[in-house]
């Protein structure tokens, strides 16, 4: 492998810092593979941590079969959330802080216990979870026009840029997250509907998949961390003046105004 991980990590870090999109890494490094891409991701995340940010959780991407097919990959991917990405409930998204922000509705988990290891199942995820929340994931690809391959987006920390939770969390025990209905609207117009099964059949299964993959790389999740379990619908681009709203049966509503 002739890829210089730190060089290409810096390309992504600079793109985020200057809010100027770059071209796919795989244009210059066609041999960039998934494992190397995760090493680049680690370097990108470490740069944020070195700059004073704290890791507060993780997110899944490409959790739908349709998206995986479109990206020519056979499994989802994940990235790390840092505290400089979080918006608190009711906060406004400032679009100028991003390159090309997009939003998507997700089920989010707040962990009560550590979650790690190669044998974690959906059941362990539910048992380790304090509360589940309605959430909006804010993506911001550092690649122009969201044009990338699987390894590109992994290296780019899975387009992680921000997230916000709704103000109502509930205990996941006793509800079937697979069947939870969701509507996603922008400026009062319904964009899409879905149910929890849109992410790998069950949001907790998606989280379990991620934890098992993390274990292969010596990583895991800690109590108090949050997990964004993957998009239930297509992402939508947002601009100043837009408001996106995700409503979930049983979980409640999350709203994100943009300026």
């Amino acid at each position: 492998m002739t890829v210089h991980k730190h060089d290409i990590a810096h390309r992504l870090i600079d793109a985020a810092f200057h809010r100027k999109a770059t071209t796919p890494l795989t244009d210059d490094h066609p041999d960039l593979d998934v494992e190397t891409a995760y090493e680049v991701q680690n370097a990108v995340v470490q740069a944020r941590v070195d700059g004073g940010a704290a890791i507060i959780g993780a997110k899944l991407g490409l959790t739908s079969a349709a998206k995986q097919k479109q990206m020519n990959v056979t499994e989802p991917l994940y990235g790390w959330l840092t505290d400089d990405m979080q918006l608190d409930t009711g906060e406004t998204l400032v679009c100028s802080k991003y390159i090309q922000p997009r939003c998507e509705p997700e089920v989010a988990f707040l962990l009560a216990h550590d979650l790690e290891g190669p044998h974690v199942l959906a059941a362990h995820v539910i048992a380790a979870t304090a509360l589940v929340f309605p959430a909006i994931d804010i993506l911001d690809s550092r690649f122009a026009g969201y044009k990338f391959t699987g390894p590109d987006v992994i290296a780019d920390n899975s387009s992680c840029a921000g997230f916000v939770f709704g103000g109502q969390g509930i205990d996941p025990r006793g509800i079937d997250l697979r069947l939870i209905g969701c509507t996603f609207e922008k400026n009062g117009v319904l964009l899409a509907t879905a149910a929890g099964a849109a992410v790998l059949g069950h949001p907790a299964s998606a989280v379990a998949w991620m934890v098992r993959r993390m274990a292969e790389r010596g990583q895991g999740l800690r109590a108090g961390q949050v997990v964004m379990a993957g998009a239930l619908t297509e992402a939508v681009a947002v601009s100043p003046g837009d408001t996106v709203v995700a409503r979930f049966d049983r979980l409640g509503t999350v709203e994100l105004p943009c300026r």
């Binding site: 069947l179 939870i180 209905g181 969701c182 509907t193 879905a194 149910a195 929890g196 979930f248």
Partner: protein
Amino acid sequence: MSVSLSSEQAQMFGDALYDARRTGIPIPAFTDDLPELGMEDGYAIQQHLVSRLLADGETICGYKLGLTSAPMQQLLGVDSPDFGPVFASTVYRDGAELPVDRFIAPRIEAEIAVILDRSLSGPHCTPANAYSATRGLAASLEIVDSRIKDWKIKLADTVADLASNGAIALSSLVVPIDDFDPRLVGMVFSKNGEVIASGAGAAALGDPLAAVAWLANTLAPMGITLPAGSVIMTGALHAMVPVAPGDVFRADFDRLGPITIRMASE
């Protein structure tokens, strides 16, 4: 919009659809030769077709709405849904095996069915009125089918063809709307055990109860009241899926439970 067909033409086209239903041989779209045909023409043809089927002893047990999603409306260039009657002879129960030879080019979609407790009529029916008249919701599947060759339909064609209704399957569990929002009821659709789509109630006109109100208001000028007990198929919660012999389809609804049908092997 106005009717451009003479009543003789409407009868002739209705007869052609009647024969296509009988023989299983699809016919060319009416709009191939008469592209100016619109929604009113479609309903004029539908009315004739329905009167012939009623004369054969069929009974109407409810209605289906079609074109309830923005993508379908855009595809056919309309900004409203359409409707057709549901005949009692085309209603199947949960777990039923459906004969494939009953259909020409079947496709399937999962829907929320609204069962009325009281009669409901327009023209000023609101979703709240619909709620008051509703006994409950039921998990349902609709087989849509086209008596028009290769589904090459425009608006007037599908309206004439009973809004492309083929058959429905209805859960026996009718769940009162009590402390939940029909718009947010989640649904997971699988074919032969594989999840292929999901959706929520809002996919049908934004609200299944708004769909019922729209139907009551649309039927009012025709002098039709929805009777108590009517089954209203409020519209697909996902893009329709092709059907092949031997396929098993299951829609699992939050709050309402599952419904499964099997297509017979040929």
